[in-house]
Symmetry: C2
């Protein structure tokens, strides 16, 4: 490609609404252009990167036996009503009426349509397993779109759907997709991590997320350096920090703790370590039976230095639909203002739920259910009943023991770019998608679904790879692998001739090369390509040519290297392959 | 590709709603699957063909200097309001409100968005010319979707938009696109014709349509075998069939023509050739000035054997908004029932508009403005005033002289699959898309737009190429170029070994091959591939192998040819290249 025949449009300053570095750099590099909130035109420079992402995904999906098709963007509401998602999904699902007043959804994902395709096509177990995928525009009407391609409304996604005759088959299909994702992210040249995930709203029995590692990531990833253990913070199991409960050593003592509604203040006032304190979180669960509302109350207990993990709370039996108790409810049930609650003396109707660590603590500090007072030396069994429920309620922290017993946990931040799910029969049952098994009996299809956020990959790759000059693309994703920068092509015949020859040789060698023939000054030219993030640059100038040399500089290099003209193509090929 | 790893789903019978052969065959061949009215999933077999169409378009567009980007599907109403198309387009434009109640269009085409991109990106004439394109899903909410991919609602289109500094530049860009389209349709291997077109609603100053020739086509194409002249029937100029008006030879005679309201009946009753008669069409044009409605009346005259061309009528000065007169209007204005009207005695407020041929006729037969009577021997000047307007009002007929004076016209039928337009400044003026010219003065961009109906190509190619067994793809569009059909791979080691070796060799030779390893009986296997339309088939069987031969059959061949095993790959390569 010659730059003069391409469209390059760079900006010195990013627009003020670009809050994060990837959004700023993509706008400045002319890769995307805003059309509306969360809606972008992919400009030629950006589209080249998207196509490279798509090509790698496609190759690896095909290799893994998935078959590409293309499902429509505008989908009849009837299918979405069959699974109940028409009602369950909120305003994120963009709904539209056609000229005849019929309801349609602009698809955010295609479980319903693929299940409809398969239920009419698949009759027998002999046709299974099957895995269909497409790479396609999606729309999710996010409440607050932002961060460029990271949380857009219109975006491109690869979604795949597997169909098996039984659970073992589904798990094989799942593993095949998991392995394909590992290959895909390896080929992207990005640092990534696959973590066990919470299943969320999509339902099903197991799932993993694929994250691009970046300090700016929204998600905390928990992993063990000494083993394969890795999970999203939401799903990472926290073991008790105290292996077994020590014997009580202190007497229960009520102490004044004025204005100490937080454990940190209590620890400070009492000159104790925060890990000796226990904090209390009051929850309410409302249930309606025959039009009558009943309320249940739960007291959650966490060590003072720990954070509540709301996803884990949701999984405690009876707490699926919890909310935090209101101040009025607390006053009524506990007879005390918030900030001084504790298990000592707490009884029905309140259910005490202790985190695993708290359940093994002795001589702990907790609220005295009396404004301005706490207890020290509180002990289970002696001062209060054993907790009704012991559960994992907290976020893990770095240094915690790994749940697999093989080392300690570390935490890093990541950006979710892929997700694999075992759906089981959630969709096939609601949509009556069955096949005839070996005995001629109808059985529901066992499904899996597998997504990659194609356009999001661009943002994530940049969040991981940039410096103060701009983007640093891994070679596999770069819009061009190599840029040729001639110095004064219009003035020097030697520069012109060498540049044109090199360009032809690079094209012939299969290098994705751009020749910058725009006639810019070196400063502006270099700044453009550093901003755009092309990984390899060769400068052709009279000075070097006199000695038979060109100047090579990798995007991460701090200075240029002289390379003999005759060697430069094989030199670059070596760099790209590295 | 191995058939066992692909998804093949053929049907013996097409669904009853498939009215035309391409729709029937695509459904039967498992290429598309209906999701809703005019909305189809592109199944794996169909998607392969779409991808081949797209790849050829992309290569030729790039070669012609067009630059690919990707514009959003969901587009803010504000842009469509700037050009007035938000109101002008009827219910075909699918409109949607987002969660905040803002209006959006699901794009049927992208003139507004690309003009918005360019008006913010282009400052100077130095950045021109530019041509951007994308290949993308479109939606048009057709009143009556039908014919499968031929008139769907959701479809794929390639749309390109050129921007130039002046009209001469725009015409060059237009010619470059025209030439690229010729290359594209040649590479498809389809018989096609480019014809001058009427501009229709999109506006602008010149356009051509590209049609795939097929007897089932909706459009009549007019062309001259002896020259380059070609036009859509709507736009094909009809010369007068009588070069100059002969002198009057007959006396004006009023004759009884009972129950003869059609020229055919009159000619029969009077035992005259139909070409001696003149038919009358009464039109009304209503105009509103200051809230007051005024009506103008026009009498159109055509030779009895000619057809009215409504597009041409629209272009006659004053007739832009015509409608056919009602019976009440005719009775009131002409004092005669319809069927017996004629120019003799017709005067103000009626304007007489004669077709070019009619204006040169002498001694013609026309209605006498008296129920049940016609005149014979009517002559211009002598019996009635010269027509107020002489215009081209009729469809050409085969055998007419070509307007370029180089031969006679022929007519064939076609399916419109491409359209190139000179838009001029229609969009750039309404959207204030200007650039600074050489004198530093702002000037509106000169635009062109260029569409190809990607998915429609599939339907058109089939309408042109099929037989009673199924589809016959040209090699460039076929889902696979070659199918290998082994006879009893599971029984014969020789068949298995030869098949696997041939398959590997074909892949290595870059042939797009599918190996049918499904283990079907020969009859079913052959029927599938004939239906799907793969152009080249090789059968590997023990009988042939004994003599060192395989059986080759081209999709259009009536019988198979024995080819020595060692020669088969080069033989196939020769066939594909042919």
């Amino acid at each position: 490609m010659r730059a003069s025949r391409f469209f390059i449009s760079t900006l010195k300053e990013a627009p003020s609404d670009a809050e994060i570095v990837s959004h700023q750099l993509m706008m400045r590099a002319g890769m995307i252009k805003r059309l509306g909130s969360g809606i972008y035109t992919y400009m030629p420079m950006g589209l080249r990167i998207i196509r490279k992402v798509e090509a790698i995904i496609r190759e690896e999906m095909n290799k893994a036996g998935a078959i590409e098709l293309l499902m429509p963007l505008v989908q009849p509401a009837e299918l979405w009503q069959e699974t109940g998602r028409w009602d369950k999904m909120g305003p994120e699902l963009l709904r539209v009426k056609d000229r005849h007043g019929r309801d349609f959804a602009i698809q955010p994902t295609s479980e319903e349509v693929i299940t409809d395709v398969v239920r009419t096509e698949i009759k027998s177990y002999r046709q299974l397993p099957l895995n269909f995928y497409h790479i396609q525009t999606k729309f999710r009407d996010e409440r607050r779109p932002r961060f460029g391609l990271m949380r857009g409304r219109e975006f491109t996604m690869k979604d795949a759907y597997s169909f098996d005759r039984d659970q073992a088959g589904m798990q094989q299909s799942y593993q095949r997709m998991f392995d394909a994702y590992v290959s895909i992210f390896n080929r992207f040249g990005l640092k990534f991590r696959a973590v066990a995930a919470d299943n969320g709203a999509i339902g099903g029995t197991g799932s993993h997320e694929f994250h691009v590692i970046a300090s700016t990531g929204e998600d905390a990833l928990v992993y063990c350096a000494d083993s394969d253990y890795a999970a999203n913070m939401e799903a990472a199991e926290a073991l008790p920090l105290v292996a077994s409960r020590p014997a009580a050593a202190e007497a229960l003592t009520k102490v004044a703790t004025p204005d100490a509604t937080k454990c940190e203040t209590v620890a400070e006032q009492l000159k104790l370590d925060l890990s000796r304190t226990v904090k209390t979180i009051a929850l309410t669960v409302e249930t309606e039976t025959d039009g009558k509302l009943t309320k249940q109350y739960f007291m959650l207990l966490l060590r003072g230095d720990h954070e509540l993990n709301e996803v884990k709370v949701n999984k405690v039996a009876g707490l699926g639909a919890y909310r935090f108790s209101t101040e009025a409810e607390i006053l009524e049930v506990y007879g005390c203002v918030p900030g001084y609650l504790g298990p000592v003396g707490t009884k029905a109707p309140v259910t005490v739920v202790a985190d695993r660590t708290v359940a093994n603590m002795a001589d702990f500090v907790c609220g005295a259910n009396d404004a301005g007072f706490h207890y020290t030396g509180a002990n289970w069994g002696r001062d209060t009943a054993e907790p009704s429920i012991v559960a994992d309620l907290r976020n893990v922290v770095a240094g915690d023991a790994s749940p697999d017993g093989k080392g300690v946990l570390a935490i890093e931040r990541g950006i979710e770019v892929g997700h694999v799910f075992q759906l089981g029969t959630a969709y096939s049952e609601s949509m009556k998608a069955t096949f005839l098994d070996e005995n001629g009996k109808p059985a529901p299809l066992q499904m899996g679904c597998y997504g990659i956020g194609v356009t999001r990959i661009l943002g994530a790759a940049i969040e991981q790879n940039f410096d103060d000059k701009g983007i640093i693309w891994p070679a596999a994703l770069a819009p061009f692998e190599l840029v040729l920068c001639p110095m004064g092509m219009d003035r020097s015949e030697a520069v012109k001739e060498t540049t044109e020859r090199l360009y032809a040789e690079a094209v012939a060698a299969g290098i994705d090369v751009i020749l910058d023939d725009r006639g810019l000054r070196p400063g502006g030219m270099f700044a453009d390509w550093e901003l755009i993030g092309v990984p390899h640059r060769v400068v052709i100038g009279d000075r070097g040519l006199k000695e038979g040399n060109l100047e090579y500089q990798g995007r991460r290099d701090t200075e240029a290297t002289a390379v003999p003209v005759a060697d430069v193509i094989s030199f670059i090929k070596g760099k790209i392959a590295a």
